[in-house]
Symmetry: C2
Subunit: 414 residues, 2 copies
């Protein structure tokens, strides 16, 4: 079975806002073996909305709308679906009552327009909304002699997620023919997309039954392997076999075979070694620490560190001797090493990580151009320093450098 | 005139990747006064792609496709447009020659499939691609007795942007009727979307000629005002008048009337006062520093600071007396204040900023629940401390807290 997702809202046709719900829905539908073949984004105009729904009904089995279920004049999805299918809307007194009760509980006078949210398509099942006022609707119907499922969901992401997981997944499972679907996600760090592809294309192209997608994002590569051929066991075996061969080929670059993030893996390795980490970062300005502390429970292995944006702070917080900065410059392998050693010593962490570089756009020179970075890790006995030169803008250079820094710790701990 | 944007690529129908080019295109089209009325996302299947193009031709004046122009079997956009319009593709020998030359310069043997990129729609103008191999196409044609513009762009964002700005904007300006378009962007911090809307809706609803969009993102609100009625001067005056009234109503929450970010504004105020800032952050774990250092030139006003994730580091780097932590707990207004005062003293910055809180999901108690945060700013004489309780998950709490911290500095400096 296939599906079209329609995101409704004029704001989604401006430069300022984008539909993101469809990524969530696509993920869930993929789990069920439903292919999304079209996504349409349409504004709050009845004619356009009804047009989009009619077209979707003509080309897919399942049509899911998101948005346009609220109480205002602009909320036209119910009406548009009714028009497209040629069926009636009826105001449901139970929903009207529940809306009144909801407003009364908050001691707010309900305005009349709210009752529009109680208009229900003839024959549809009401999907309750635990997180907002607008209920969704589930309609199993016939259009042009074909059975069609039409699902009306609200727009806010938290409402969409809860309603879909709690009230649509089981219903869909009962309707959608059971399909084989085997997946694996591999993650790799510090290898370019084309370089990775050049190495693994000769492998994955031999697995014609497995869909391999490469997604690259500033030094972080996600490989999604999906197989929907044959029975479930065979499909999973094929995916696992291909995953194994890719892991072998990209060996040292692969950091997870289970879709974890690099931050999670670094913290996992630290925990496994009962070790702690402290960070002294200059050019990344807090980004490395921020990434580690974004993970819940990181305080068990990450003690903190310093953002040493000035030379004085490099000395004050990471004990880098001013003479080392003077002799080599703040962006140098000596200072990176001294940052790693110093922050480790000061904080008594097992490992110290030092980061220095030129993020740009200013501050570069012929000898030390924008994008030149040094990253070091030290356990007090051994200090490894890596030099790299990244292209791109400030954000790009900082993101790659934070990835390089985390990956250096991972390689040291592996 | 109106436009439909079609993003082509099966990867855009997976949970892993999303079209982002359309935000850029929507912005440029808005500047020209062209409304985007539909966006469609379709995979690499000829039938589906031709279907999407036919539908777009039937409902809009301008159809822009992105993607599907490369050399592989999956790149079907040229063919689909030819099919939808019933016109022919001809292989252009000049483009074939240029492709051979391009490959030869890199000493790579060109594979035959690359020549598909030289297939040109009858009557179309070739849009050269300075950043990739696939040229775009511009076709001024007739479909169902109506004049239609069909623009074929490549998929990679850098190629789309360069090709559109350099080769499409002027061409469109010559075709699109000149339209009034006046804009303003206001930014506000630490006010909820519904709260802001409740206060300003009575104002902006009186300006029926101005489109007001509110975009909220973890404590940061963007208000876009757009007017396309009347002549340019009147429209700009209307937008400016409304902007002025909104500024008056939301007064202390508004931090920019020119679309700057909060980070930029904080650094701007610091520069204006010839002041410097240092940060000691616990629960935000580097996020505040990372946001400030994301701005180029931030080193002039931001000296750095410490990520004090453990009690020991709060004492070591920000000089918080262990007795203060013991008596009040690490998450307390006393510790927030001591962090701000201590990091200022240690670093000799003009201002110190201290952040502590419980980001969750663990670590909360009845007395000090998840989401409780304290933020303090100090100049050595006066220390302001703010207590807030945020809802949501770890990421949400950290993002709001970083916003609160930056906004506290802004309000102090204003």
């Amino acid at each position: 079975m296939n599906c079209e997702i329609i995101a409704v809202g004029s704001e989604l046709l401006t430069p300022y806002r984008q539909d993101t719900n469809s990524l969530f829905l696509t993920d869930r539908l993929l789990q069920l073996g439903v292919n999304v073949t079209f996504k349409t984004i349409v504004g709050d105009r009845l004619a356009n909305l009804a047009n989009a729904i009619r077209i979707a009904l003509g080309r897919t089995d399942i049509v899911i709308t998101m948005g346009g279920l609220g109480p205002t004049e602009d909320d036209l999805t119910r009406q548009a679906v009714a028009e497209a299918l040629g069926i009636r809307l009826r105001r449901n007194p139970d929903i009207v009552g529940a809306l009144y009760a909801r407003f009364a509980a908050r001691r707010i006078q309900m305005t009349d327009n709210n009752a529009r949210q109680a208009d229900v398509l003839d024959g549809s099942v009401i999907l309750e909304n635990g997180r907002g006022t607008a209920p969704g609707q589930w309609l199993d119907t016939v259009y042009g002699e074909h059975r069609k499922l039409v699902i009306l969901l609200p727009g806010p992401p938290t409402e969409v997620k809860a309603m879909f997981d709690e009230q649509c997944m089981d219903r869909l499972r009962a309707v959608v023919p059971k399909r084989t679907i085997a997946m694996r996600t591999l993650k790799a760090a510090m290898i370019g997309e084309s370089q990775a592809d050049a190495r693994i294309a000769p492998i994955y192209t031999k697995y014609k039954d497995v869909d391999t997608t490469i997604l690259a994002h500033t030094g972080d590569i996600t490989l999604n392997l999906i197989c929907s051929k044959g029975d479930q066991e065979t499909a999973q075996a094929r995916v696992d076999e291909l995953a194994g061969k890719i892991e072998e080929e990209l060996e040292e670059f692969i950091y997870s075979a289970q879709a974890e993030s690099l931050e999670q893996i670094v913290l996992y390795y630290l925990g496994m070694h009962a070790s702690t980490l402290a960070v002294a970062e200059s050019c990344t300005g807090g980004l490395v620490s921020q990434r580690l502390t974004s993970i819940s429970g990181s305080s068990r292995s990450f003690v903190g560190g310093a953002v040493v944006y000035s030379d004085e702070l490099k000395t004050l917080f990471a004990g880098v001797p001013p003479s080392v900065i003077e002799a080599n410059g703040a962006v140098s392998k000596e200072v990176a090493g001294a940052l790693a050693e110093g922050i480790r010593r000061k904080t008594s962490a097992t490992f110290g990580l030092g980061v220095t570089g030129i993020a740009g756009p200013g501050g570069g020179s012929e000898e030390k151009p924008v994008g030149l970075v040094y990253v070091a890790v030290s356990d007090g006995k051994q200090t490894d320093v890596v030099e790299r030169r990244f292209g791109g803008d400030r954000e790009h250079i900082r993101a790659w450098t934070s990835q390089l820094a985390l990956d250096l710790v991972r390689r040291r701990l592996k």
